[in-house]
Subunit: 187 residues, 2 copies
């Protein structure tokens, strides 16, 4: 009988992480269960013990991926007291993540809801709230501001590389942060 484990077994994690690598490199269609299995040195049929189908595995990878992303983001948010520094790092990481995710989703049939990570908005809101309390930021509704920033990021990540040929670069973040701060910084 199947056991409900609170912690994922290590094997399951291994599979998720290997699959995530392959999926993000080759896409859903081009990654076969054989590829995943042989990368792990196991028979492909063994995968069915852990996941009942390829698409279940894929979904699990997405979930695992985004939850580990949130963990990383949390770390960033706790890593410093300098709100400017936090936001810069955060923007960078988010863009990297979005890039990976878009690869992962490259071959998904229906458009996934949105690149919003659940929990991300809350984190950002809290940060902004704190900034307001500390009188570093102007008194703007933090929730609204959070959504605004997220949308902006989302838009940038999608469209900037299309408009210009190159991808988003270091200085883009600086510029973005700079503009954002000179607009919303108190005084």
């Amino acid at each position: 009988m199947e056991q409900i484990t609170i912690k994922k077994t290590t094997k399951e994690k291994e599979i998720l992480e290997e699959a995530q690598k392959l999926f993000s490199h080759f896409g859903l269609k081009k990654t076969s269960l054989e590829d995943i299995a042989s990368s792990l040195g196991m028979a492909k049929t063994s995968l069915y013990y852990y996941f009942k189908s390829k698409s279940e595995l894929f979904k699990a990878v997405l979930k695992h991926e985004s939850s580990s992303f949130i963990k990383n983001i949390k770390k960033i948010f706790e890593s410093s007291n300098d709100i400017k520094e936090i936001l810069t790092t955060y923007f960078k990481k988010r863009t990297e993540y979005a890039k990976e995710l878009s690869k992962l989703r490259g071959l998904i049939a229906k458009a996934q809801k949105s690149p919003f990570i659940s929990g991300e908005e809350t984190l950002l809101t809290n940060l902004l709230e704190q900034g307001v309390k500390d009188e570093i930021l102007k008194k703007i509704n933090p929730e609204l501001l959070a959504v605004l920033i997220l949308s902006l990021l989302k838009g940038l990540e999608k469209n900037l590389p299309l408009i210009r040929k190159r991808e988003i670069e270091e200085r883009d973040y600086d510029l973005f942060i700079d503009v954002l701060f000179n607009g919303i910084l108190k005084k």
Copy 2:
């Protein structure tokens, strides 16, 4: 009747370049003719007008790739008079190229002769000869030195990423160049 063209037709080049992109990203096996064709907006059967089989196309890509590499290297060698600068750029490019090539060859059955590019050795030898003539370098047999450097590079590219987890980084080149120069620089 087939015509012997001195210049490859533009279409043929387009195909080679698109195929090269896909092959280097997905590997031989995972890149289908359909993938290549649809990337180019043409029917896959049309590819057979230019190349008589998939493996012929692949071979052509390898050939095209390495000849365009030599062209780039030549440019670097002519771009400056500072031998140190030239070598640094050259090492970097070579490593990038080696990475791409190893992807391309990832699924080739027999091990390809070697990662030596014909012509590369000559170019490097000439550069070193010049350095000796200009009394920038010690009097060491340039041919020998060229082979030595190439072997070293080859070894680095292969083994460094295996020994340490990370890939070759910027500072690795600097260190390498530095060591190399302090060892062979006159005075």
